[in-house]
Each structure stands twice: as structure tokens, then as C-alpha cells.
């Protein structure tokens, strides 16, 4: 008899494994690959991204817009492949935070962790604020609700409470609803793009950059940074890994699918935009003339975009809750935040805490107005924090493969190339930001550095934290069958 058939015949649980996973309490296998894609796509909010990109990217890089976007998409795919190095091996609710901790240790892990906390919080807050503004524009009538008025406050509290409830109750329907919302919005935008394209006579001249009008290197790098932000959130599907079916197969697939499809949508949108510009039209998918001709179009667009932003808030808050939950289980954050609901198998305490922070943070943003430092920090977190986290995960993949002694260039090259690309983007963005608004950048860096130093001191203090950080969903005894290795008959 072979050792394998021996093991199968005995079918005893493997006693070398623990009886519970560090992430116990979440419901394993309850999420499908489609739900992971939905989570990632909703967090990216491609509808919003497309609206921002089409105008903004052409403004910044002119005829190089398509090339810029193509390069950015390639860089993001490298990040997705670098994440897959980890996601093929471990299933972690902490996502990039856990990956970087496993690859580069606690200091870099905490830099990525705090960056993600700030990033997700920033996106959640900003998109909730934008959703309320869009709802105002759609249904507020001509006078509009005053921005600090009770209507806005009530909407923020109401949407925040609904988002918290959906996460705490673990409503699986929510990801599907998010996907449908995004699909409808993107389909609408694609049809508008098609119409624009057709009107310009399928003019593809915009793809080829005009060397004569090349943007400066800094403008080009800024364009890449700007486009990169429109992909932010694709990594959030990894946070649902421990709850998904066959996560080691599903998560890498979901990441690459999300990036690929979002990139395709963006490239098409920008292509249509460029063809419109070449045709002498305004650099916007919908012109004032279109809106004037169809008065019903305006509120519909606002309502649809609001739905897309709310889905984005939900998805980013969801990822943030999983991150807080992981940190609490490790003992990095208060333990109470790591509790799970026995009935719904969700991190309901973390959901409640994050939901409360979301509402307060958004109300502060509503109250702070356009020219506040708080708003600048939130906006910077939405871009810079993610660029840092992506850089960290690319840099962590190779050391991780070396550490587990499975390094091969075939698997590591996207991470190595991604590290170079992201380092370039991060440096240019930092320099541009330092020249533009050094205060917000300093605050962001101070937050990340402070938290990292405090974390390192706690890890070094030797209270067992070192052994608990980097927690992921480990196999338990009942997942495995014992091999009873010494038996060697044949």
C-alpha cells in the first residue's frame, strides 16, 4: 500500500495543525468568485473612474492619454500579479497588510497597514460625501439642500447606518447588487462612448501620441499617478478570501479579472474621448448641449453616479472592516474589535466601529468645506496611501518567495518590475505633492510613521505580538488528513 492510500484509508485529522484558525468565526466558503469580483469592482467604482479619467487624463497628458493609461494598466496588472504570489499561498482578510507583514516584516507591514486604513477610510468618506452631493443634485430641486443642512446630515447618517448594517448582517446580496449597479452604469457610459465614437467617424488617430505635443516627464508621471487612482480598490477582493470558496484559486483570479475588465472599460472610454477631441468636440463625454437637449438626463446621471458612489463606500468600508478585524485578532488593535457574530459570522463589532467612524468622518468633511486641510488629507490618502501600499506589496513578494524557499524568476518578475514602476510613480507623486501641498503630505507621513514606530515598539516589547502578526486563515486539523509520515511500507 502507498503512504497516500494509507492516509486516505485512515482519514484521521492532522494533529500537527491547530484546532482553530486565527480568523475563526468568519463563515468559510460562503463567497463565490463572482462576489469577489463584485467587491473589487465596486471598490474601484469604474463608473466614477471613467467620468474622472476621460476628462482629467486628456487634460493632463493630451495626446499621450491613451499611452499613459495603457502603461498605468500594465503597472496595475503587475501589482495584481505580485498580490497573486501571496494570494495563491495564503488567504488573508487583512489583504495587502498581511501580505507585506509576511514578506517584509512588521515595520513595512504596518506602513502598508496604516496606508490602507487611511486609504480605505479616505475613499469611503469621500465617496459617501460625493454620493450625498449627487443625490442632492438629482433630487434636491433647483434650490439644492444647503450643504451643511439637516438633509445632508440625515443622508450621511442614513447611508452610513445602512452600509454598517449590510456589513454586520453579512448580506451576500449586497455584493451582487453592487455589481449590477456598476454594470448598469458602465454599460450606460460605454454606450455614450460608442455614440461619441460613432459621431467622430471611428477616428482612431488619438491612439498614436503626437510627439510634438509630448507632456513633460513630470506631467506624464503625474498622469500615471492620476490614472492609477482610478484603479484603486481592485485589491479589496482579497479581504473576502477567508470567506470564499477555494480562496487560493479564486482570489488571484478575481484580482486579475477585475483589473483586466476595468482597464478595458477605461481604455475604451479614453479612446472615445480622444476621438471626440480629435473631432473638435469638447473634452467631456457629455457636453452641455447634450444636457440642454435632454433635461431628464441630468438627474438620471446624478442618481446613477450616486448609486455607484454608495456601492464604492460599501465596498471600501467592507475591506476596511476586514482589515480592522484582522489587526484586532492579532492584538494590534483592541481585542473587542475582533469579535464575530455567532449568528451572522461577520466581524460585527468592527463593522459598528468603522461605520461610526465613517459617519463622523463624512460629517466632518461636509462641515469642513472645500478649502480645509482635512479635505486635503482625505484626498491625498485616496491616492498616495494606495500607491505606497501597492509599492510595498510588490516589494514584499520576492522576499516572501525567498523566505519560503519557493523563489523562481518566472513567478517573481511581475513583482520586481512592479516595484520599479511603483517606486517611480511614488517618488514623482511625492515630489509633485511636496511642491503643491506639503502640509497634507507631512500629516499623512507623520500618521504612518507614528503608527509604525508605535507598532514596532510593541512588537519588540515581547508580549507575544510578534508571533501573532501576519495572521491569516490557516488550515485546521479537520481540514487535513494525517499522513502518519514514518510508516514506510511498500
Amino acid at each position: 500500500m502507498s503512504a497516500l492510500s494509507d492516509a486516505i484509508a485512515r482519514r484521521t485529522p492532522d494533529a500537527s495543525l491547530g484546532s482553530v484558525s486565527p480568523l475563526h468565526g468568519l463563515r468559510r466558503g460562503s463567497v463565490t468568485t463572482l462576489d469577489l469580483v463584485a467587491q473589487s469592482v465596486a471598490a474601484v467604482a469604474p463608473a466614477g473612474g471613467l467620468l474622472i479619467l476621460t476628462g482629467g487624463l486628456v487634460d493632463r497628458t493630451g495626446s499621450f492619454a491613451f499611452v499613459t493609461l495603457l502603461l498605468t494598466a500594465a503597472a496595475v496588472i503587475l501589482v495584481a500579479l505580485a498580490m497573486s504570489v501571496f494570494a495563491r499561498r495564503i488567504s488573508a482578510a487583512g489583504g495587502i497588510y498581511t501580505f507585506v507583514t509576511r514578506g517584509l516584516g512588521p515595520a513595512a507591514g504596518m506602513v502598508a497597514g496604516v496606508a490602507l486604513l487611511l486609504g480605505y477610510a479616505g475613499v469611503s468618506i469621500d465617496t459617501l460625501r460625493s454620493a450625498v452631493r449627487r443625490l442632492d443634485a438629482a433630487f434636491g430641486g433647483t434650490e439644492r439642500w444647503a450643504s451643511e443642512g439637516p438633509a445632508s446630515t440625515l443622508l450621511v447618517i442614513g447611508i452610513g447606518a445602512a452600509v454598517t448594517a449590510v456589513i454586520a448582517l453579512g448580506a451576500r446580496m449586497s455584493t451582487r447588487v453592487m455589481l449590477v449597479v456598476e454594470a448598469v452604469v458602465v454599460a450606460a457610459l460605454i454606450s455614450v462612448s460608442l455614440a461619441v465614437f460613432a459621431a467622430s467617424g471611428w477616428n482612431l488617430a488619438g491612439v498614436v501620441p503626437d510627439a510634438g505635443t509630448a507632456p513633460s516627464l513630470s506631467a506624464f508621471a503625474e498622469g500615471i499617478g492620476f490614472a492609477l487612482v482610478c484603479f484603486v480598490g481592485f485589491e479589496s477582493g482579497a479581504a473576502l478570501g477567508p470567506e470564499s470558496r477555494r480562496p487560493l484559486a479564486a482570489v488571484p483570479r478575481a484580482l486579475v479579472w477585475t483589473v483586466g475588465s476595468v482597464a478595458a472599460v477605461y481604455l475604451f472610454g479614453v479612446l472615445a474621448q480622444l476621438s471626440a477631441v480629435a473631432g473638435g468636440r469638447e473634452a467631456s463625454l457629455l457636453t452641455e448641449a447634450d444636457l440642454a437637449a435632454n433635461p431628464w438626463l441630468d438627474p438620471v446621471i446624478h442618481a446613477v453616479v450616486a448609486a455607484s458612489w454608495i456601492a464604492c463606500t460599501l465596498a471600501c468600508t467592507n475591506a476596511l472592516v476586514r482589515l480592522v478585524f484582522t489587526m484586532a485578532r492579532e492584538g494590534v488593535l483592541p481585542r473587542a474589535l475582533g469579535r464575530t457574530s455567532a449568528r451572522f459570522a461577520t466581524p460585527h463589532v468592527a463593522a459598528l466601529a468603522v461605520g461610526t467612524a465613517l459617519v463622523i468622518g463624512t460629517l466632518l468633511l461636509v462641515g469642513a468645506g472645500r478649502e480645509s486641510l482635512y479635505r486635503d488629507v482625505v484626498h491625498l490618502a485616496e491616492s498616495m496611501a494606495f500607491i505606497l501600499a501597492y509599492l510595498a506589496v510588490c516589494a514584499a513578494a520576492t522576499p516572501y518567495l525567498l523566505r519560503i524557499r519557493e523563489f523562481s524568476l518566472r513567478e517573481a518578475w511581475p513583482a520586481l518590475l512592479g516595484t520599479l514602476a511603483l517606486a517611480g510613480v511614488a517618488a514623482t507623486e511625492m515630489l509633485a505633492e511636496a511642491a503643491d501641498d506639503a502640509t497634507a503630505l507631512c500629516i499623512l507621513i507623520a500618521l504612518i510613521a507614528g503608527a509604525t514606530i508605535a507598532h514596532l515598539l510593541r512588537v519588540r516589547s515581547g508580549r507575544g505580538l510578534a508571533g501573532r502578526i501576519g495572521a491569516y486563515d490557516t488550515p485546521v486539523a479537520s481540514d487535513a488528513i494525517s499522513s502518519g509520515a514514518p510508516a514506510r511500507r511498500s
Binding site: I8, A249, P475, I481, S482
Partner: protein, 253 residues
């Protein structure tokens, strides 16, 4: 395990699982590649694909892997390996009788062809598996689960009943087959026409008298006598197979 390098994907995957079962959770991916004599990158890829399908699990603290509970699903692929004397016995039988000899297993009410005679292959593997009334192999399986009688394995009985119904075999026909096999102690079948064959299938039974396999002899031409004169040799081989697999005296025949 001798180097399965160059083997099929499934053989290689099974070889990896076998190494993990032998080596335990301290065996690293590199070491597995070394033991199997395959390039490291191929080993990593194979191991990652086995872990993503949860046949293997990464040990959280040690360097190596443990077998996932999913490998239990592989049991039917492993089963032939447990009867290692089979190929020799079957080959011996081919030499002694000078006719085509096949060996099949039955599991869960289905036919698994383990060793098909290369000189005179089965007319159709698909037909052997599905049209149970048309082959001696299938008739033995039908006879094992006579309609409406109690059985130790109701799920397998259901599978057989469904296959029989799907190929248009009536309840009465199943009863007739069962009584014929009970009377003879083996199953027989002749295939008339241009590719005429005569075939007998002798059961191999477990100590609990369950049908687990069959030794099958097939001859060219529609005369059953030509096949049946080898029955003593087949029954002897069946007994030996049962003895080798279960270390008990043969119940066959």
C-alpha cells in the same frame, strides 16, 4: 517512489501527494522537486495548483504541506495501486489462455476499466460503462443488485438501476440476468454480427461477498463455448486476486 518524471500530469500530481504523505509536513517544495526529479518551477506550479484546489494545504508553521481532506475524493484513483499483484496475474492468464483478458473494478455501481487487453480491446469503453446489459462485465454488475432486493450499498444499487433504465433494460430482464448469473456463478455474453465476440466475466468478491472486480475473457466469434472452456483458469485467477487483495481464501466461483 521511482522517478515519475515525464509521466502524465495526473501521475505527477499523485506522485507529489504520495511524497507529502510519506515525508510529512516538513517536506519543502524544493525537496519534493528533488525527490521527483522534476524542475523546481514545474514543481512549484504543480504544488500551487494542488494547493489552490485544496488537495494540499500549506502548513502554517512548518516549511511543508499536509494532505487536504479533498484527497479522499481521489480514493478511486488510488484504488488500483492497492492491488499491485493484479497486472502479473492478468498477464499470466493471457499467456495461459492465449485469449484476450481484461480486468475491471466496480465501485459505487460503476465500471472502472483497469487493464484492457491491448491485443483485442473492448468493443467500446463507453458501451462497457453504460450499456450494462450488452456486456458480460455489465451483466455481472446488474446481477449484483437484483431489483427490489435489500442491499448493503443502496447508493450503488440506485446508480445501477438508473444506468439499466437509461439503456432500456426492463426490471424483468434484470431479474433474468440476476438469476442466470446466480445459477452459473459468472456472467456471459455473446455479440453477434461482423465483429462477433463471446465473453465471460468471473467475479472477484470481498470477504463480505461484495462484487469488487471481474476477470474477463473475450474471444473472437459468437460461440460461447470457446470462451467458457477457460473458466477454470479464470476462476482460479479470481480467487488468487481476492486472496492477494484481502488475504482471505477465495469466495469466487
Amino acid at each position: 517512489m521511482s522517478g515519475p518524471a515525464g509521466g502524465s500530469g495526473i501521475a505527477l500530481a499523485l506522485a507529489v501527494l504520495e511524497e507529502v504523505a510519506r515525508g510529512g509536513p516538513t517536506l519543502s517544495a524544493n525537496r519534493i522537486a528533488q525527490l521527483l526529479g522534476i524542475p523546481r518551477t514545474s514543481a512549484y506550479r504543480l504544488i500551487n495548483s494542488l494547493t489552490s484546489d485544496e488537495y494540499l494545504l500549506r502548513h502554517p508553521t512548518l516549511d511543508g504541506f499536509v494532505l487536504g481532506v479533498r484527497v479522499v475524493e481521489l480514493a478511486h484513483l488510488i484504488a488500483p495501486r492497492t492491488a499491485d499483484p493484479t497486472p502479473e496475474i492478468i498477464a499470466g492468464l493471457r499467456v495461459r489462455t492465449g485469449e484476450a483478458v481484461h480486468f475491471v473494478r466496480y465501485s459505487g455501481g460503476r465500471v472502472a476499466i483497469v487493464d484492457e487487453d491491448p491485443d483485442l480491446p473492448l468493443l467500446s469503453i463507453d458501451r462497457t460503462r453504460r450499456q450494462l446489459g450488452a456486456t458480460a462485465i455489465g451483466r455481472l454488475l446488474i446481477a449484483e443488485f437484483p431489483p427490489l432486493e435489500p442491499t448493503a450499498d443502496p447508493r450503488a444499487a440506485q446508480v445501477v438501476a438508473d444506468s439499466a433504465r437509461a439503456s432500456g433494460i426492463s426490471i424483468d430482464e434484470r431479474r433474468r440476468i440476476a438469476s442466470e448469473v446466480a445459477r452459473l456463478g459468472y456472467a456471459r455474453c455473446t455479440e453477434p454480427g461482423a465483429v462477433a465476440r463471446a465473453c465471460v466475466a468471473v467475479p472477484v468478491r470481498s470477504p463480505e461477498r461484495e462484487l469488487v472486480a471481474a476477470v474477463v475473457l473475450s474471444t473472437v466469434g459468437a460461440e460461447p463455448e470457446r470462451a467458457e472452456r477457460h473458466l477454470p483458469a479464470l476462476i482460479e485467477a479470481g480467487a488468487e486476486l481476492a486472496h492477494q487483495s484481502y488475504a482471505v481464501n477465495s469466495p469466487a466461483g
